[in-house]
C-alpha cells in the first residue's frame, strides 16, 4: 500500500495532520525563541545550575556584595530548575515521540527506498532524544553540551520537513504507473 493509492479521505486526513504538526512546530519554535532563546548560550543560561552572584567559595555559608539594580535581569527568562526539567522531559518525550511515531507511520507508506525511509523517518526520534537528553546533559554533565539541544531541535525539524515534503508529494502529485 502506497500513499498515492490511499483513498481520498485518508489522503485528506494525512495532509491535515502534517499541516497541523507544521503549524505546531512553528509555534513551538516561536515559543522556544521567546522563552529561552535559540542559541547554545541561551540554552546554557536557562539550564545550567545557577551560579553565585557573589564570590562565594566552597564551604562559605554566606556572602554579600553591592549591586546596581541594572544587574538584576530586566527581561524575565525561564530558568529551568530540576522539577521543571522533569515535567518538561516527560511531557515532551511522550508528545514528541507520539508525533514522531505518527509521522513515521505515514512515511512508512511512502514510495522511497526502505533505506531512505528508515534514515529520514528516524530523524524526529533521534532529534527528540538529543533534545531532551541534551537538556539533562547541560544541567548535570557540562554546560557546553547545550549544543545538543539545538542539534536535536534542528534534526526534529529537518525530519518533519523531509517527511512532510515527500509525503505530500506522494499523496497528491505522484503519478502511479499502471501495471
Amino acid at each position: 500500500m502506497k500513499l498515492s493509492r490511499f483513498p481520498l479521505s485518508a489522503k485528506l486526513f494525512c495532509t491535515l495532520f502534517l499541516m497541523g504538526i507544521g503549524c505546531g512546530s512553528l509555534a513551538a519554535f516561536a515559543q522556544a525563541s521567546t522563552a529561552v532563546g535559540l542559541s547554545p548560550a541561551a540554552v546554557r543560561e536557562s539550564l545550567s545550575p545557577e551560579m553565585p552572584m557573589t564570590a562565594m567559595g566552597h564551604g562559605q555559608m554566606s556572602a554579600e556584595k553591592e549591586i546596581d539594580l541594572a544587574q538584576i535581569p530586566e527581561s524575565a527568562k525561564v530558568w529551568m530548575r530540576t522539577p521543571l526539567l522533569i515535567q518538561t522531559s516527560h511531557t515532551h518525550l511522550f508528545g514528541q515521540t507520539l508525533i514522531a511515531g505518527l509521522l513515521a507511520l505515514i512515511f512508512a507508506f511512502n514510495s522511497l527506498r526502505e533505506g531512505a525511509k528508515c534514515a529520514i523517518g528516524a530523524l524526529p526520534f533521534v532529534g527528540t532524544w538529543l533534545d531532551i537528553g541534551g537538556m539533562w546533559a547541560t544541567r548535570f554533565a557540562s554546560p557546553s553540551l547545550s549544543v545538543l539541544v539545538i542539534a536535536g531541535g534542528t534534526l526534529f525539524a529537518l525530519g518533519y520537513a523531509l517527511i512532510a515534503g515527500f509525503s505530500i508529494y506522494d499523496l497528491w502529485f505522484r503519478k502511479e504507473l499502471s501495471a
Binding site: M1, F6, P7, A10, F13, Q31, A35, P49, E50, P52, M53, T54, M56, Q60, M61, S62, A63, E64, K65, E66, I67, D68, L69, A70, Q71, I72, P73, E74, S75, A76, V78, R81, P83, L84, Q87, T88, T91, H92, F94, G95, L98, I99, G101, L102, L105
Partner: protein, 187 residues
C-alpha cells in the same frame, strides 16, 4: 484496505491523548528587576546576599513550614537607604505544580515580617486561576505576617483551582519568611 487504515488511525488517535498534558507557556507578570524595585521601594542601594543553609537551618525551615529546602544556595536582594538602614530583603521562590511553575517574589522587613508579595511568573493555564486572587487583593493579606501567619492564609471565594493556588502562594510566602528567619542573623 480501508478497515486497516481505520484501525491504524484509531490506534494513533488513542495514543495521542497524553499530548494534551503539555504544560502551557509561561506568563511573566513582572521581571525580577521590576519586582525588586517595587517591593524594596525606598531603597537607594541594593545588595545581593547569598546563603547556604546548614543542616540545622534546613531542619528549622522544615519544622516551620513542612518543606525541606533543596537548593544549594538562596539569594536575597537586600535594599538599604543611603544611610545603610535596611529597608528589606526580597527572595524569589517557586513551586512546580502539575499545571506548571508558580514563582513569587517575597519581600521581608528586617524584623522578619512580610513587607510585600508579587507573583512574577505563572503559566497560561494557571493564570486564569491566579488572576482572581490578584484582582481580589489576596497578596495584600500577607503584609505584616510571619511564616506561620503566611501559611494560614486562605480564600473562601473563587473556584477550587483558585483556592488551590492561594494555598500554593501561601506556602511559598511561608517558606520565604522561614528562610529569611533562619538566616536573619547573617542578613
Amino acid at each position: 484496505m480501508n478497515a486497516r487504515l481505520a484501525r491504524l488511525l484509531a490506534l494513533a488517535l488513542a495514543a495521542a491523548a497524553p499530548v494534551r498534558a503539555h504544560i502551557t507557556p509561561p506568563v511573566v507578570l513582572a521581571s525580577d528587576r521590576d519586582a525588586v524595585a517595587r517591593l524594596l521601594a525606598g531603597s537607594s542601594r541594593y545588595f545581593v546576599r547569598e546563603v547556604r543553609l546548614s543542616p540545622t537551618q534546613r531542619e528549622s525551615v522544615r519544622q516551620k513550614t513542612g518543606w525541606t529546602p533543596d537548593e544549594d544556595l538562596y539569594r536575597f536582594y537586600v535594599g538599604r537607604t543611603a544611610d545603610a538602614v535596611t529597608v528589606g530583603a526580597t527572595i524569589f521562590i517557586s513551586e512546580f505544580t502539575m499545571h506548571g511553575p508558580v514563582r513569587v517574589a517575597v519581600a521581608l522587613a528586617p524584623d522578619g515580617r512580610v513587607k510585600g508579595v508579587s507573583v512574577v511568573e505563572v503559566t497560561e493555564e494557571t493564570y486564569g486561576w491566579v488572576k482572581p486572587l490578584l484582582d481580589g487583593g489576596f497578596l495584600q493579606r500577607f503584609a505584616g505576617r510571619d511564616a506561620g501567619g503566611a501559611l494560614s492564609q486562605t480564600v473562601d471565594s473563587g473556584g477550587s483551582m483558585s483556592r488551590f493556588y492561594a494555598g500554593v502562594i501561601a506556602r511559598l510566602v511561608g517558606r520565604a519568611a522561614a528562610l529569611y528567619d533562619v538566616t536573619r542573623s547573617t542578613q
